[in-house]
């Protein structure tokens, strides 16, 4: 056990050192989408993950639209391979082979990210911090898949037979593969508006950085958003830049 921890730590350190990313946030993004529904809505948006350094907590920002009001189970699956759909993605990412749980439970799959609670607008833009997932090393979540479910994840507390395995969250309404995101320096360049807004259209520029909450362990430096985020969680033809 100690050996495997040592190996994991060593790996983590090597990867960080190799990329010279010490104290540089590591970022990942999953572009989540689902099929168009009968009423014309479609689940889509971005889930971005930021980890300031190896071994630190991961900040998750979920920006989705087209969801039905209510809670939706939200998980990371072991593989990002969707070549044969759900079967090839494997189960919830669970390297320790333990029971399904909620994100704050002591016993949980690494990939158990709980529920997304959506209001009547169908748009969600939340940021929270997860202490278990990581973006680096062998147990990193890059290259795996995120899945948004139709129903609420019971966090392993339900009485359904699948509760301890999957949280019984019903069918899937959207999924995406977690990819490496560009370095923050490159993000900054990309954020420059394509056309400088004219004097008539002077508007509030999105803040360079934002701090979602004031937890001491975080010192979070969020990268620039590449595009105006609210209320559209994905690059939308934005009126400011037209």
């Amino acid at each position: 056990m100690m050996q495997s921890i040592a190996i994991t730590l060593a790996l983590c350190a090597t990867i960080c050192a190799a990329a010279q990313t010490r104290n540089t946030p590591i970022e990942a993004i999953a572009y989540v989408s689902g099929p168009a529904q009968a009423d014309g809505s479609q689940v889509k948006g971005n889930v971005t993950f930021t980890q300031n350094d190896c071994g630190q907590n991961v900040h998750v920002r979920v920006q989705l639209e087209g969801l039905k009001e209510g809670k939706h189970g939200f998980h990371v699956h072991e593989k990002g391979d969707l070549s044969n759909g759900c079967a090839s993605t494997g189960a919830h990412y669970n390297p320790d082979k333990v029971d399904h749980g909620g994100p704050d439970h002591e016993v949980r799959h690494v990939g158990d990210l709980g529920n997304l609670e959506v209001n009547s607008s169908g748009v969600i833009d939340i940021t929270y911090t997860d202490k278990v997932i990581s973006l680096t090393g062998n147990r990193g979540i890059i290259g795996r898949a995120v899945v948004v479910h139709e129903l609420e994840d019971d966090l392993g507390l339900g009485d359904h037979v699948d509760s301890k395995k999957t949280g019984n969250a019903g069918g899937r309404i959207g999924c995406g593969v977690i990819g490496v995101n560009g370095a923050p320096q490159q993000l900054q360049e990309a954020t420059a508006p394509i056309r400088t807004p004219s004097a008539r259209h002077v508007h509030h520029q999105p803040p360079l950085y934002y701090v979602p909450h004031e937890e001491p362990q975080d010192h979070v430096v969020y990268p620039l958003q590449r595009y105006p985020s609210y209320p559209y969680p994905y690059p939308y033809p934005h009126p400011f830049y037209l």
Binding site: I29, G34, N84, G85, A87, R172, G174, V177, G179, P235
Partner: protein
């Protein structure tokens, strides 16, 4: 050319020795074949592209699903938007596997349909962000900050992500299998594969652009390189959330109402 073990789940009855023999005959000449009639599992050690082995198994009239590819492996689903759920005119699968646990070197197995006949540039790009489609995946993956070049060139004379060209035949299908000696699976996971409209001149063109992207033109299709199962790593046969079986997956969308089999 590295030979690699590919695992298929094949729809067969438990202990169906007669079918196992049919299968061994069908796969004769491709390489070493190991049929597990209890589990319905077939492992082929082969140098042929996976799609050929798959076609030969399905030609026996049974459904087969690739369930493991080599050791440490990765897969990218290719389409014009890069989003895994979309069905677009260009569709394809690129599989990667490490050829040895100790040395670098990645075997790349490509099948892409719907391309214009001819050569197309084929590169790994540095990021796996498809939020704006293939445009947002960044430049060629280039950790050494070197010039663009041919995949045969030395490490300092090429981008690590330069995989040269793939050739689409008259039907629009590009099918190839090659080994790249420089890459490693771990470093490309989460990045993206991009196919371009024109041929890559491998850095031999006369202009500056040739040293950047080989004049390979517009990005027409891409996909994120995702982790996938090596052989004997994934025994999942049914999707727990909605009851779709391994055999029905190919006719079902990845998400949404049409998937559900539960009432």
């Amino acid at each position: 050319m590295g030979s690699v073990k590919i695992e298929f789940a094949v729809q067969m009855k438990k202990g169906d020795e007669a079918y196992a023999n049919t299968l061994r005959k069908a796969l004769d000449g491709l390489g070493e074949v190991d049929v597990d009639i209890q589990e319905g599992r077939v492992i082929v050690q082969t140098e042929s592209p996976w799609s050929e082995v798959h076609e030969k198994i399905e030609a026996t009239g049974r459904k087969a699903v690739l369930s493991g590819f080599g050791g440490q492996s990765a897969v990218a689903l290719i389409n014009t938007t890069g989003s895994v759920v979309d069905r677009t005119p260009v569709q394809g699968v690129v599989r990667f596997t490490a050829i040895s646990a100790k040395a670098p070197g990645v075997l790349v197995d490509v099948v892409v349909d719907g391309l214009e006949p001819g050569l197309h540039g084929f590169h790994i790009h540095e990021s796996g962000d498809v939020s704006s489609g293939c445009a947002s995946v960044g430049d060629h993956y280039n950790p050494r900050r070197s010039r663009h070049g041919s995949p045969e060139a030395s490490a300092t004379e090429r981008h690590a992500g330069d995989l040269g060209n793939i050739r689409a035949d008259e039907s629009g299908r590009a099918k190839t299998r090659f080994v790249d000696a420089e890459l490693e699976v771990a470093e490309i996971i989460g990045r993206a594969v991009v196919i371009t409209a024109s041929a890559d001149d491998l850095g031999q063109g006369a202009n500056d652009q040739s040293l950047i992207d080989g004049n390979s033109g517009e990005r027409i299709a891409c996909g994120i390189i995702a982790r996938s199962a090596g052989i004997m790593e994934n025994f999942k046969r049914i999707c727990a959330c909605d009851g779709v079986t391994l055999w029905d997956e190919r006719n079902k969308p990845l998400a949404g109402k049409d998937r559900s089999q539960k009432l």
